[in-house]
């Protein structure tokens, strides 16, 4: 792998060039944007490490020139300001990643290792590329071939190769978690862990040690050292689900970790490198959360480098049959009752529904229709029945009006646990899986809802 170092200060440049060679790569150095441009053509580097402040321009120019040259050269920008703008803008401009000065050898080495893996891969699989999602009807676990989904796949494949944080938004049930794991699968981190953390479900007091780990004796009850999520996800991807729910104190911490790419265990002074791709998701309006001060603007900018909005199922109705068949074969694989298709009337019924609960609702509807039908095809009446019975044509009620909710039957002597489970299940069904709304209606915290779901092993 060939590395080009673009740094104006000769001493620093030579030192970095030597270090890169020491790490086992070919390296050479230049001091200006102009020299970098010609070196891009003559040397054909695979990686460019560019200082942000150069005499005749900045690192962004190097990024732009590399892209204009049409070469697949990953640019890593070096910045010394530690500000949001330099880091985020570099990645928005198409840089592969940024590194903060003072440069840490371990971080430089990790970045180059990753890039060299990608380099070898690209060389090995020249043009093999990914299968065409339009022909396949999906991409790595995501199903759909509608225009909005093809656009999602396009953005997703592009961003997967960089290290930039991705912010996935979309209504509940649109497949944000599926999309996050697809980014992971398409990235160089695919063989490393993918860890999802639900920000609404973590206890604000213990969250810090859960994420960053702690040293023995860090606080009352910390009787031995413990690794946190960050250490466990090392080299992989961390998915921050429902990021707007992150406790405010933690937001400060997170921001710092993102800025410095390092973290420390609670009560520890050893600095650990963060080598994690972050993907965040939210089904609420993030900009609004920022306006209401529940979410920090600076953290928002850092996480929102690459926004990805998932379309609702209403916006891609042509995918309904494809998805329905996908879920049918998934269910059939597990339950083996001999189903292979839908009666045309059943598909018509599904097609005319508005799907406020999106793909999750569709999957549940197919499952319930499966239970109500006799093989080999899902019956039209069964499909109609499950759609009317969940009352899904109605928009989500905004006010708490008990009258409009379906009733659950409870017998004298039933265990409270069983009753709780029934009420929880029915409520979640009625609100199309919106856990936050369910929590609000049931008068408990979002965290309690998550805990109960786990306790009763209910699917979310």
């Amino acid at each position: 792998m060939k590395v080009l170092v673009v740094e104006d200060e000769p001493g620093a440049r030579e030192a970095i060039v030597e270090l890169v060679k020491e790490l086992g790569y070919e390296a050479s150095g230049v001091g200006t944007v102009a020299d970098a441009s010609s070196a891009l053509v003559t040397l054909r580097p695979d990686v460019c490490i560019a200082d942000l402040g150069l005499p005749d321009g900045d690192g962004f120019d190097v990024v732009r020139n590399a892209r204009a040259a049409g070469r697949d050269c990953a640019v890593v920008v070096l910045t010394g300001r530690g500000s949001v703008r330099s880091a985020v803008e570099a990645m928005k401009a198409g840089a592969h990643d940024f590194l903060l000065k003072p440069l840490k050898t371990s971080q430089l080495a990790a970045t180059l290792t990753q890039l060299s893996e990608r380099h070898d891969e690209a060389r090995g699989a020249q043009n093999a590329g990914l299968p065409d999602p339009a022909a396949e009807g999906g991409l790595a676990g995501m199903v759909g071939r509608s225009a909005p989904m093809l656009e999602v796949y396009r953005l997703l494949t592009r961003v997967a190769r960089s290290n930039a944080p991705v912010m996935i938004t979309g209504e509940s049930g649109t497949g944000k978690e599926v999309a996050a794991s697809t980014v992971h699968l398409l990235s160089r981190r695919a063989t490393r862990p993918f860890i999802a953390v639900n920000c609404g479900a973590i206890s604000p007091t213990l969250v810090e040690s859960e994420l960053f780990g702690h040293e023995k004796g860090a606080f009352t009850g910390a009787d031995r050292r413990r690794a946190g999520t960050f250490e466990m996800a090392h080299g992989g991807t961390l998915f921050l689900d429902e990021v707007t729910e992150m406790p405010p104190e933690l937001q400060v911490k997170f921001l710092r970790v993102l800025e410095t790419r390092t973290f420390r265990r609670v009560g520890g002074s050893e600095e650990l490198d963060m080598d994690i791709r972050l993907i965040a998701s939210s089904n609420r309006d993030l900009a609004d959360a920022v306006r209401r001060e529940t979410f920090r603007a600076d953290l928002y900018y850092r996480l929102n480098v690459f926004p990805l909005r998932l379309p609702s199922l209403r916006e891609r109705k042509e995918d309904v049959p494809l998805l329905a068949n996908h879920f049918l074969s998934e269910i059939e694989k597990k339950e083996r009752r001999g189903f292979s298709s839908f009666e045309p009337g059943a598909l018509d019924a599904l097609a005319s529904h508005s799907w406020p609960g999106n793909v999750r609702e569709l999957r549940n509807a197919v499952h319930r229709a499966y239970v109500l039908s006799d093989p080999p095809a899902i019956e039209a009446e069964a499909a109609e029945a499950v759609l009317t019975d969940s009352g899904t044509a109605e928009p989500r009620p905004l006010v708490r009006d008990e009258e409009t909710w379906p009733a659950v039957e409870v017998r004298v002597g039933e265990t409270l646990q069983a009753v709780e489970k029934k009420v929880l299940t029915a409520t979640l069904l009625a609100v199309k899986g919106d856990k936050r709304l369910a929590a609000e209606l049931l008068g408990v915290s979002l965290k309690t809802v998550y805990n109960k779901l786990k306790e009763y092993q209910l699917e979310t």
Binding site: E9, A15, G80, R85, K101, T105, T220
Partner: protein, 222 residues
């Protein structure tokens, strides 16, 4: 959501701090890389190399500590860059998501940096709480005394500290120390004071700000 990013730093002292961080980062960076190379060379020298490499490692650790401390500059810059506005402790605590116990009905208005103060309050509550995550959250009480508006934050768990002042020191790499240092910088930037004291073997944070002058009509002039 493709809004433009905020300016790097809003100018003035804040901008100067950002530039300073940048200026410091360059030589520290070069020195670190050069030391790394030196260490690698020495490791190859048969005699004597090992003990010299040990020394180089020591210098590298010193540099790393300096590198970590300059990361406080952008954070100081954001405190310095925020304009102060009229607010009250009740309002700030609400925004910080920290319940303030019943205080004076007519909460005095203060001229404070809103976001920085919210951060400082969160840092303090978080710090006091983290010493015993299983105890009840700290208690916040507003008091008004001798021309100053004061806030007490009392830990309800964890142990005290015989020399709480040392908690504010910037030791090498203690994150809590850095957080507390920033909290104090923030409070003091608005003319306030922040102390940690031990009361009945628990930690208490004492904050106070000068009460704004009262105008002749009886309202608060700021």
């Amino acid at each position: 959501m493709n809004e433009s990013l905020p300016p790097d730093f809003p100018g003035g002292v804040a901008d100067a701090l950002g530039t300073l961080r940048h200026a410091l980062a360059d030589p520290l960076s070069a020195a670190g890389v050069k030391l790394e190379l030196l260490e690698r060379r020495l490791a190859e020298v048969p005699s004597n190399g090992a003990s010299l490499a040990d020394r180089v490692r020591g210098v590298k650790a010193d540099l790393a500590a300096a590198g970590r401390l300059i990361d406080l500059l952008p954070r100081l810059a954001s405190i310095a860059g925020e304009p102060a506005g009229i607010t009250s402790l009740g309002d700030l605590c609400r925004a910080a998501g920290i319940p303030l116990e019943e205080g004076p009905a007519n909460r005095p208005r203060l001229l404070l940096r809103r976001l920085a103060t919210i951060d400082a309050l969160r840092i303090l509550v978080w710090f006091l709480r983290s010493r015993d995550p299983l105890a009840a959250p700290p208690r916040l009480l507003e008091e008004s005394a001798s021309g100053r508006v004061a806030l007490r934050i009392e830990a309800l768990g964890g142990s005290g500290d015989s020399n709480p002042e040392r908690l504010f020191h910037l030791p090498r790499g203690e994150e809590r120390g850095e957080d507390l240092f920033l909290a104090r910088a923030c409070i003091e930037s608005d003319g306030g004071r922040l102390q940690l004291v031990e009361r009945e073997s628990r930690l208490v944070a004492l904050l106070s700000w000068p009460e704004p002058a009262t105008s002749p009509e009886g309202g608060h002039a700021l």
